[in-house]
């Protein structure tokens, strides 16, 4: 299968009053057609900024893609003009955001918000009959009951789960080949989360798009992803297929994250804690960013950042332990 999205050495930074903050620091990503790539990490690790860079939706005032290429279908979209980008955004690559309340416009009926994308990319005039029918069809596809009525309702009349379904309908309205889902179920209750995850899985099967699934929840990753990248402080620290990552995690950070969840823990066992906290992007430690929190730290860890190294086919980690051939 072909590579749909190829990101190389992406560096995204923000100018803040306290100085330049590098949020994404040299990230490489490959998403193959029809695959689900899970991106996992804690807040501030750069997972959302990576997705916003791909969509070219960084805040204009201070966010810049400082270096790197983002190749979509063989074309470097970093170089595209805003008008050319608009052709891709929402049409070829679509996105679902975390907060379905803030992502929808409260003063427009949901039908108009879906129809907008159809007008721009599929020249179905807004408020035309075909446009409306297509909106209803999309609402039905995402499992919304009474679609003929809901199409004229406003976001505040819908529950959180329904709003997220509307978001998905908007995102899928133009049959994107790549869907970026940024924490799409984080704001939802567990039973509703299960519904929405199931819906995304079904629609993927039906429409065959590739998905970049961003979340902090390893449980959701285990459920949804084919391949996983784990990010920490703006860099990828581990990359593998989902099975390998969960059965044989090799980076101390991934191991720590997995051990922090009490899901499989006996009640009298102590949780494993990663000590300390994520370093401030304004004050990164020299060497490996995880070194101050790591239990397997070597002297080398404080001096230089290790490379992302293959340790077996399709499994790479960024760790001095791997560089030095130690087994951890």
């Amino acid at each position: 299968m072909g590579t749909l999205l190829r990101v190389r050495n992406l560096i995204t930074s923000f100018n803040t009053s306290e100085g330049q903050v590098v949020a994404v620091n040299g990230v490489d990503i490959d998403i193959k057609e029809g695959r689900v790539l899970g991106v996992v990490g804690e807040s501030g690790c750069g997972k959302s900024v990576t997705s916003l860079s791909i969509m070219r939706l960084l805040p204009k005032s201070n966010g810049i893609i400082a270096a790197g290429i983002i190749e979509y279908n063989g074309q470097d979209i970093v170089q595209l003009s805003e008008a050319e980008m608009r052709n891709i955004r929402g049409n070829e690559i679509a996105m679902i955001f975390q907060e379905p309340m803030t992502a929808l416009n409260p003063v427009l009926p949901v039908g108009e918000q879906i129809g907008e994308a159809l007008e721009i990319h599929q020249s179905l005039t807004l408020k035309s009959r075909e446009n409306r029918l297509r909106c209803i069809e999309l609402l039905k596809m995402v499992g919304i009951p009474r679609a003929e009525e809901i199409v004229d309702e406003y976001p505040h009349q819908l529950s959180g789960g329904m709003r997220q379904r509307v978001m998905i309908a908007i995102a899928l309205s133009c049959h994107p080949r790549l869907l970026i889902a940024d924490e799409p179920t984080t704001a939802l209750d567990v039973t509703i989360q299960a519904q929405v995850l199931d819906l995304i899985r079904q629609l993927k099967k039906q429409l065959g798009m590739a998905i970049m699934f961003i979340t902090h929840d390893l449980g959701v990753i285990a459920e949804m992803a084919d391949d996983v990248i784990v990010m920490y402080a703006g860099k990828i620290v581990e990359e593998a297929d989902t099975y390998t990552l969960f059965t044989n995690p090799r980076h101390p950070y991934t191991q720590g994250l997995l051990a922090s969840r009490p899901d499989k823990m006996k009640r009298d066992e102590k949780l494993h804690c990663i000590r300390g906290m994520v370093p401030s992007p304004l004050d990164m430690p020299p060497g490996c960013a995880f070194a101050p929190r790591c239990d397997h730290c070597l002297p080398a860890c404080y001096q230089a950042m290790p490379r992302l190294k293959d340790i077996e086919p399709n499994h790479r980690i960024r760790c001095w332990l791997a560089e030095q051939g130690c087994n951890n």
Partner: protein, 328 residues
């Protein structure tokens, strides 16, 4: 068995809905609808359910932070209120009792006064209850900070200088200042990153041992609830549908809602991609709950009588109770 610390009997809390020109009462939101339970000394009692099921309101009503509609709460032998007997604790006594019962809130960004130093926040209770002079209270604040894993020399800093996890530690330190017996944690780790969640959970465990605490732990996260709590109540639309020890509830869930919640929980284990029970629809409006068993509208096993009769509580064992027509 330890003695009962908190005894809740037939507790109800309705919020009136007002409408019309004269803001007449036109209905009730039945946030808490007839719940009965005990918490024994040294126990961790968990409340789990989806948003809007009344778990936070239960906590607040027990602490007498909002007036009850019906029922009684007895804390350490002292009646806080008994609506049927029309007895309510007087203000002075309640104030004294408050030393023994504290609460930790979910959002550490909203629950700390941004204009007070950490020292002032933690020592406020001591000064208010005239248990210490300002100087003594500040010394105590330093001890408490250290106990909660923050260096004592941070005592003059302000909340904005801390990360979310650190702020939650400060909230915990504040709740401990008056040497309480009983602490309610209202989603105390929900807003934190995975690795920080593990840290705070471990801190709560350690403090419980050190200070002989009893917790009411409110959470929507079943993985955390299972691991952390001794006994658990599952709430749906203001009622308990099942109560049991962690083992009983997770190894032998009897109410379909408990089963659904367990099956919806994403688990970070690739070998555990289970078949899920996916619920249809959303939680019904608590102002207009369904007749009979409140869960019957979404229950995969609902029968005719479920929509007619309210199920009564069935005792499976000394500790395990369930409300469901299908359990014999």
């Amino acid at each position: 068995m330890n003695r009962k610390l908190v005894e809740v009997r037939n507790l109800k809390k309705y919020f009136p809905i007002r409408g019309g020109v004269f803001s007449k009462k036109i209905g009730d939101v039945k946030a808490v609808d007839d719940i009965t339970f005990d918490i024994r000394e040294g126990e961790i009692f968990g409340l789990v359910g989806e948003s809007g099921c009344g778990k936070s309101t239960t906590g607040r009503t027990i602490l007498n932070l909002c007036p009850p509609t019906a029922g009684s709460v007895v804390f350490a032998g002292q009646t806080i209120f008994d609506v049927a007997e029309n007895t309510y604790i007087n203000k002075a006594k309640m104030q004294k009792l408050r030393r023994n019962m504290q609460i930790i809130f979910q959002d550490p960004f909203a629950s700390l006064d941004p204009r007070m130093s950490v020292g002032a926040i933690i020592s406020e209770g001591l000064v208010k209850h005239k248990l210490a002079t300002r100087r003594e209270a500040l010394e105590r604040a330093k001890e408490l900070l250290e106990l909660c894993g923050i260096r004592y020399d941070n005592v003059m800093k302000y909340p904005h200088e801390f990360s979310g996890g650190q702020r939650q530690r400060i909230s915990i330190a504040r709740s401990l200042a008056l040497n309480p017996q009983f602490i309610i944690g209202d989603e105390p780790i929900a807003a934190l990153d995975v690795s920080i969640q593990a840290q705070v959970l471990t801190l709560l465990q350690d403090l419980k041992e050190k200070m002989n605490l009893t917790y009411l732990f409110i959470s929507h996260d079943l993985g955390v609830i299972r691991y952390f709590c001794d006994r658990i109540a599952v709430m749906y639309l203001g009622s308990f549908v099942e109560v049991g020890t962690s083992e009983e509830l997770f190894n032998n869930p009897l109410n379909p809602y408990t089963q659904v919640l367990l099956s919806a929980m994403p688990v970070a284990d690739i070998r555990d991609r289970r078949k899920r029970i996916i619920l249809q629809g959303d939680v019904p409006d608590p102002a207009n709950p369904p007749s009979g068993c409140k869960f019957h509208t979404r229950c995969p096993y609902a029968q005719k009588r479920c929509s007619q009769d309210e199920p009564v509580e069935k005792r499976i064992s000394e500790t395990h109770q369930v409300r469901c027509h299908l359990v014999d």
